[in-house]
Symmetry: C2
Subunit: 307 residues, 2 copies
């Protein structure tokens, strides 16, 4: 058995317009790299962090916290070193903390000969995610670990569904380089919502799941509509409406906030459309004073990959 | 072309636990019979009604109103007579008015050589349904016309999705012979619901759609859960909790209010379980002073049938 593994831990998009707190999908071209190494010395040590300034103490680092949770449960006869090559900017809304939290437990599980299934890995990763977001949720972790589209049926007990991914689906993303505080993006949400909006939203969730099963791109387009969360959270993202209008005009099937933002994602049929959408949203943001990054990515059906 | 057609117009279950206002499925053994006849004399005439005391004037009868709506739109060079052999008790919560409203337009469409698709038939049937329920909705009409499980993605524009039906799924129903006023079952619902409940509900709707696609009976069981409507409406149905407990104990995958009640439906894997569930709920209601009917039915994947 190998003593060291290098992995690609992908960025992810949570919520997917209509599926607040339950739906997510996995990206392909954006993600962290991590090296996990078995050591004779017991315990979890983070030995290298590149890219962003994050804590080395395992108890204060999301990758360390998830690793410790799994380590305490499995009690293996070894320890682990973790190296993190962080490419996903923390706070970008595309699952930066999830990539770290999922990557460490995935790597450890591989080095131990895969004793845990993906749901159990997600369970431990949630402990790390909780450090970053103050609550245990799996809507970014599930797509990172399972790949493709996922539905978190329930968090407790943890139940994750793997949804099919139509083969010609591409994501475009824009990450405006602004900071949205998690506390603010939470506080802005209503505690209660109109029943009529809830009905529209669950019709959309059901339709999107059906559309993924039938590769019905027209229905994906109709279902990618968030009447519950977006009206509140889009206020925190400058030029959201302009980006959305430009993206839809350029042919995107849908456009919505990625996670709690500030990133915005679009889904398109085919790479050419996804790239045209990228051009259109670049044009919108180029006219502002806000720095930004854009990406085009196939949906990653594999999740975390061994390199 | 035939000048007369005899049809079976089935009872249906709307809401299906988690899918309030959007999901429905079609029953097999319970339904009305109707005869639709082409006449040289123009107009729509209801010439026979057996079973229940309903108005003969087309403008006051749901089957007549939907027929008139379609008739005025198509302007055919003939008229139609409608005979209604009503078996589904009005107000039972299993789509009695929908069976009538859908049956007349289905029969007329057949006699005219099928000029309209099923969505357009549902559109006209909604005009009749509105007479009975004071609003245009399609959650019973769609399963009656399309068969199987349906999801009404939106009412305006009307968009109906046909969901797959696992082959071994059976429904059990109990119809307590009490009257619930539609106005009362509406008034009891909250205008706003907690966001957390809405999230649980759309996780269930997405899960149920996935479960139907994958014939995953365990997941059907987990998804058949209504945290939004049932807590309010069950108060209107005597012994609801006792029925539900008995049904689940007897092996039902789930149990919830059919439409706005008073009927209660259960879904089970296999006919034997559905029949055991029927026995269990009969036992509950036999100890009460309330008269009741029970039924076991395969899911009807065809919808309205020509006899």
């Amino acid at each position: 058995m190998e003593n060291e593994i290098k992995i690609f831990s992908p960025a992810t998009v949570a919520n997917v317009a209509c599926g607040f707190d339950v739906l997510g999908f996995c990206l392909d071209t954006i993600g962290d790299e991590m090296v996990i190494r078995k050591t004779e010395e017991k315990g979890i040590r983070i030995t290298k962090i590149e890219g962003y300034d994050l804590p080395f103490e395992a108890e204060k680092n999301v990758a360390g916290v998830s690793a410790l949770a799994m380590y305490k449960d499995l009690k293996p006869d070894c320890g682990f070193e973790i190296e993190i090559y962080k490419k996903i900017k923390p706070g970008s809304g595309i699952g930066s903390s999830s990539a770290s939290a999922a990557g460490s437990v995935f790597g450890m599980n591989a080095l131990l000969g895969y004793p845990l299934d993906k749901t159990k890995l997600t369970y431990f990763a949630m402990k790390g995610e909780a450090l970053a977001s103050q609550c245990e949720h799996a809507d970014n972790l599930a797509p990172a670990i399972f790949g493709g589209f996922t539905l978190v049926k329930s968090a407790n007990p943890l139940q994750i569904l793997e949804l099919p991914t139509p083969s010609d689906l591409y994501a475009t993303l824009i990450h405006p380089q602004i900071e949205i505080k998690t506390s603010e993006s939470r506080a802005i949400l209503p505690k209660e919502i109109p029943l009529s909006n809830a009905i529209a939203q669950w019709a959309n969730v059901g339709s999107l799941v059906h559309a993924l099963h039938t590769s019905d791109y027209d229905l994906i387009k109709d279902a990618l509509n968030d009447v519950v969360i977006e009206p509140y959270r889009k206020q925190l993202i400058p030029h959201f409406d302009a980006v959305k209008n430009a993206a839809l005009k350029a042919g995107a099937l849908g456009c919505a906030i990625s996670g709690s933002g500030p990133s915005i994602f679009m889904l398109s049929k085919g790479k050419a459309v996804a790239e045209a959408v990228e051009e259109a949203i670049k044009n919108v943001y180029s006219e502002t004073a806000i720095a930004f990054e854009t990406y085009v990515s196939k949906i990653n059906t594999e999740g975390i990959q061994v390199l």
